[in-house]
């Protein structure tokens, strides 16, 4: 139901509304928010360096397009795999708890950024000079690809909520020791959620790189991408399918309509919003509905 409405919206809005990139970004953030939700909402680990997967995906796909002349669709998938690879390298970080995990993950994303942007690797990654993909530029195709990614993310997230795997993740989030005592393979379940989450960010990054076709390392490793995704999830309510969608719709919409006329207030508003959310509504908008006994998908 939620998925169907979303798809219909993104299929038909472009005919009436012209700023395709805004819609693209909206889809992208919805997918990223769902991806983040899979790891944060369902397992409780907050990856502050989530953008690292996004950047890995953008670069992974761009490099196979440039050097191996892949066509964009397989390249986007490869971008997802590149992010999964990075995710695998970071699995040892799960030995850390809570905020340590978050900070270490942030450090890892920054390290990846500095490696890619390093001029010594310019012959491989183009270093600080950035990527340009005029040969495959096709924003319409990238738009539909992003929609497919969003649908994938929504279905995945929806399945998580209903399936036994989602239940296991919930158990891990609540208490990893007891989860193990319930027979859940904590390490493997968490790793699967982590890699799925990385994959979504990776393909999103790859589609984004394809859509804009010219980008610099700082564009696709910008910390603000993580921040947006986190705020959208928190605002809407983590651990639900609807929460991140609503969060993105409301806040990203506001960002584009209020934010552009008076942007100087925006960072301030976002910051205050985060503070107020944590203090007064730590489970997000959807928790208001749930408190009234309304079941939120």
């Amino acid at each position: 139901m939620v998925v169907a409405i979303t798809v219909l919206a993104y299929v038909f809005i472009p005919y009436g509304y012209n700023n395709q990139f805004l819609l693209f970004n909206m889809m992208m953030y919805m997918a990223l928010a769902q991806g983040l939700n899979i790891i944060y909402g369902y397992t409780g680990y907050l990856p502050f360096g989530y953008v690292g997967f996004f950047g890995a995906g953008a670069y992974g796909s761009a490099l196979v397009i440039i050097y191996l002349h892949w066509s964009p669709f397989p390249a986007v998938l490869l971008g997802g795999l590149a992010a999964v690879l990075v995710g695998m390298l970071l699995i040892p970080l799960f030995r850390l708890s809570g905020a340590y995990f978050s900070i270490a993950n942030l450090a890892a994303a920054e390290a990846l950024y500095y490696i890619i942007a390093n001029p010594h690797l310019a012959s491989v990654t183009q270093g600080p000079y950035g990527i340009s993909l005029p040969q495959v530029y096709d924003p319409n195709a990238a738009y539909w690809t992003m929609l497919a990614i969003l649908v994938f993310a929504l279905i995945l997230s929806g399945l998580m909520r209903r399936s036994r795997f989602g239940l296991a993740l919930g158990a891990i989030r609540e208490n990893p020791v007891s989860a193990e005592m319930a027979g859940v393979n904590v390490v493997r379940s968490r790793a699967i959620a982590w890699l799925l989450s990385a994959f979504i960010a990776g393909v999103s990054g790859a589609a984004f790189g394809w859509y804009i076709s010219v980008f610099y390392p700082e564009t696709v490793f910008s910390l603000s991408i993580t921040v947006f995704a986190i705020v959208f999830v928190l605002f809407g309510g983590s651990g639900t399918l609807l929460g991140p969608l609503v969060g993105t719709l409301v806040l990203y919409g506001a960002y584009n309509y209020i934010g552009i006329s008076t942007p100087q207030y925006f960072q301030l508003t976002y910051g205050l919003l985060i503070i107020l959310l944590v203090l007064f509504l730590p489970s997000g908008l959807t928790s208001l509905l749930r408190k009234r006994g309304i079941d939120v998908p």
Binding site: V11, P14, Y15, N18, N19, Q20, F21, L22, N25, Y114, A117, N118, P119, H120, A122, G127, P128, Y129, G130, S132, P134, Y137, P139, N140, A141, W144, I212, S213, V214, F215, Y216, E218, T219, S222, S224, I225, N256, I260, P263, Q264, F266, Q267
Partner: protein, 413 residues
């Protein structure tokens, strides 16, 4: 696939409508641009935006810009959004300018990073992008086959250090150290200087990059000193330059020549941050307004006239970005005044026709087929003491020079 087809048809219909509409004269000429009021590029971007705004005000005071295709003056409406130095937001806003506001002319924000996202968009939507200061070479590669971009101001950044290399050669400098921050703009200058010097037979004894965010150079300066260079060139953004010069001044080290690029772009910012003393005898490029094109100017106001008018209108602190913004307005003005048809293609062809034939306060305007600026060049300047403090003065080549270079720099400055 069907949807894609439908979308294509719709797009084509829109494009047809736009080009048909091109024959009817619009009530205003819509110029769309972006600026950054916050973030990394805000300082230069707002100046550049101010320059463009000033041009709009001036031209509207005359009743609008003359459009040859309609044989009359039409008022200009500037539609500008704030991208906050974010490429992601910028991409969305360029999109909005093109697809929703349907601007007639698209002007990029400051610098290569914020320009980058507009380049493919403009090409896709077949609208000429007036690129003010996005000097990255990759926008202008022949293989892009992109006719929809024109670099109105400075040459591509890789061209900048060519005169610098000649200067070093002319002073008999044999050993040069090059240090650069890892970004497109700095890296391409460093690369060119390295290659040009090597062709001239000058030894590049040190050629290294540092991360973009480096702000502590003392240790690096000591490593450089080990190679005993006669000249050190550091390429970076202004905070790199500021830290580099400060650390050099405090290091107790001495090099006969030290070069940094940013005083040419915003001299006062650098001077205020590091103080007069540290900046003395440092070399940089010189560009308008420091280099004053007055006699040579064949189109638009001379630099002195511009400065006077700008000050009268309440503007202050004219720097290169201000001039670049204003100059873009001039190029648009000339293009509309000469293009026989009011279409993007006609405008672009008109630009090719007057390319190389007009000289503005920003220098000779000359672009190649792919829009890269090849007319302007950047002389070498040096920060020299004056009665009231310090000033950056052109010292090379001789036809641009207003002062004589002090080389080697005095030891106990």
């Amino acid at each position: 696939m069907l949807r894609k087809l439908v979308l294509r048809v719709v797009l084509a219909a829109v494009a047809t409508a736009v080009s048909l509409g091109a024959w009817a004269s619009p009530s205003v000429i819509k110029i769309g641009t972006l600026y950054a009021s916050s973030g990394y590029f805000s300082q230069a971007s707002t100046r550049q935006y101010d320059g463009l705004k000033f041009w709009v005000r001036q031209i509207n005071a005359k009743g609008g810009v003359y459009v040859k295709a309609f044989g009359k003056r039409i008022p200009v409406k500037l539609i500008a959004y704030n991208d906050q130095s974010s490429t992601m937001l910028a991409a969305s806003l360029y999109n909005r300018l093109i697809t929703q506001d349907r601007v007639h002319t698209l002007v990029a924000d400051y610098g290569s990073v914020l320009t980058s996202v507009a380049v493919p968009l403009a090409q896709e939507h077949r609208i000429v992008l007036f690129d003010e200061t996005g000097t990255s070479g990759k926008f202008f590669r022949p293989e892009n086959r992109n006719r929809y971009i024109v670099l109105t101001g400075l040459p591509t950044s890789s061209q900048w250090p060519k005169v610098l290399a000649k200067f070093m050669h002319s002073k008999g400098i044999r050993r040069v150290a090059i240090l650069y921050a890892a970004n497109d703009w700095s890296g391409s200058q460093a690369k060119t200087l390295n290659q040009t010097l090597k062709q001239d037979g000058v030894d590049v004894v040190y050629f290294h990059s540092v991360p973009d965010s480096t702000t502590s150079y003392s240790t690096i300066l000591h490593s450089i000193a080990e190679y005993k260079p006669e000249a050190v060139a550091e390429f970076g953004y202004s905070d790199n330059d500021i830290a580099f010069v400060q650390d050099y001044a405090n290091s107790g080290l001495y090099f006969p020549m030290v070069f940094i690029p940013n005083p040419a772009l915003h001299f006062e910012v650098v001077r205020k941050a590091v103080g007069n003393k540290a900046l003395r005898y440092i070399y940089s490029y010189v560009a308008p307004p420091i280099i004053r094109y007055n006699r040579e100017v064949t189109y638009g106001p001379t630099l002195n006239e511009f400065k006077a008018a700008y000050a009268k209108a309440g503007g202050k602190n004219v720097d290169l970005s201000t001039v670049a913004g204003f100059n873009t307005g001039l190029i648009i003005q000339k293009a509309l005044a000469t293009a026989p048809k009011f279409t993007q293609e006609s405008i672009r062809d008109a630009i090719d026709k007057f390319s190389g034939k007009i000289f503005t306060l920003d220098g000779l305007f000359k672009v190649n087929r792919y829009g890269a600026q090849v007319g302007e060049f950047l002389p070498v300047g040096q920060v020299l003491p004056t009665k009231t403090g310090v000033a950056l003065k052109a010292v090379f080549p001789s036809e641009s020079a207003v002062a004589k270079a002090v080389y080697p720099a005095p030891r106990n400055k």
